[in-house]
Amino acid sequence: MEAQALIDAVSLRGVEYKWNGRDAFALSVGALQIPRNERLLLLGPSGSGKSTLLSLLTGVVVAQAGSLEILGQRLDALGSSGRDRFRAEHFGIIFQMFNLLPYGTVIDNVLLPLSFAPARRTRATAAGGAEGEARRLLSALGLPADIGRRRATTLSVGQQQRVATARALIGSPEIIVADEPTSALDDDRQQDFLDLLLGQIDATKATLIMVSHDRRLARHFTKVVELTDILATSQREAAAT
């Protein structure tokens, strides 16, 4: 338990990344250390490189230089399918909006990540059957009991965000990444949503990494980092003009 706690959720140093293509974009990150069970808020306006940072953390893209360890695992030591598997097992991800596959039922959307993550499936099954666990999470997030069979497209934006949260939480992944999850919600619903999310994060002892431009959220977090303090970005075209 002690040894587990010593390993950081995220340990990142001197990472350099370049997108190739039309809008060639470079990002460098000095250092970022996120201990386990941290609730971290990354503050920054859009265009500050947060999407790229999240892609790096979740192993969708690989840094060209520097070191990046997630839960003690160097991501650059894994192949691309190894990183996909790693992401499936250890990350739960919530987007700003349009989180769900529109034609699927709510239950199928929540259960979907288990198709790619056997260990999460085992945990969810142990917690009371995959489907039972999905229903428990949905109701813990304040959704009506009969919502499971409904199509994702029939839900309100707020309901969709909660379903996406249940999907991120199922099978208890160690790290939850949330990319502006409240920005599509009005103020009241933002508060409700955050309370529910944080309550569930506490229950599973997951590490939360949330990105937002909204400073008012800071009080809910154990640590707040300004993206501009750790990131340096450059856009080739912008530099040229």
Binding site: L54, A88, F98, L101
Partner: protein, 418 residues
Amino acid sequence: MIVARLALQSLLNRWITVLLTVLAISVSVMLLLGVEKVRSGARDSFAGTVSGADLVIGARSGAMQLLLYSVFRIGNATNNVTWRSYQDIVSRAEVAWAIPLSLGDSHRGFRVIGTTPDYFEHLQYRGGQTLKFAAGTPFDDLFDVVVGSDVASRLGYSIGDTITVAHGAGSVGPGHDDLPFRVSGILARTGTPVDKSLHVSLKAIEAIHVDWRSGSRIPGQVTPADRLRQMSLPPKAITAAIVGLKSRLQVMGFQRAVNEYRAEPLSAVLPGVALQEMWGLVATAETALLGVSAMVVVTSMLGLSAMILSTLNERRREIAILRSLGARPGTVGSLLVGEATLLTVAGIAIGTAALYAVLVVARPLIDRQFGIDIGIQPPSSTDARLLLAILIGGITAGFLPAYRAYRMSLADGMMVRT
């Protein structure tokens, strides 16, 4: 399992485009398979028309022409064979049996053939089957006629009905209506031109022309039927003859003997060789038809590819979500290939089923119109190969969108900036 179900639901959500794409594939499958069926059906039908005959003999002409007018009853002979030459030739030792054919008259659009009872005994079709009577007997009286099964069914004839024969091949024109024939027999169905023929004795052909000269009636001359029955009326000429020899080994020698016959210029052809010649002639058309059908299939495959490609932009989000959940780019790609495969399989199934449905409906029509009996058999190995090629084409059509989705998912990462 869930991934597949979600992919299927995504398909169902686009059901109109999906349906149209599947229909396009079905139609192309129908066309390709249909052309192949008609092609093989026509070949079988033609090849089955003449069986067991070693040589077909007629006045000097091309092999194909002789085969066409004698066996398939298409077109007309330019010249006849004199009865004397015919008798001389068939009296040779090699000849096992011979069927003389005298063409030129018709009955309501069907050909009337003068022949001998040997016709019913020796003419073979489709792997050596001999003609069978569905009712009645061969002609016995001078004015007896044996009708083919199509003639009987189309014109509603039964034993004992009386009919008249027209002069020439048209369905109207001057007739021999003063000399009615009695239906003495109806042949069982063969699927060959025999079904569309009426058969009378050679003497009957002579008899109905007693009062005729040079294709028109001699004014005022009417010979009554009973008087005709008593006349001897030996045939003056026949149009062609089908000959069976005692030994296959004698075919070449016998053919040469006929071709070099001194008294008049004759031709003897091997039916198989003439058929081959005919296939050579139609092969180009067949290939062109198959080629056009193949192009239609290719078009439908391109449509399939374009349909899936066009959905990619709206599914970018879907792909990003799948990627964020840990789906590999390969998984995303294989979903698209799977989609193409599924639609192709559906197209093949619907197209094949529809073709068989059409065949069941159209078979009698095609048979009546063209005399081609397209057997309704399970798909042949050629059909199976064509279907397999279409399936492979469909899977291949899925690779282009799959590759694009793969590139897209790599470029987008999991954050789609929409």
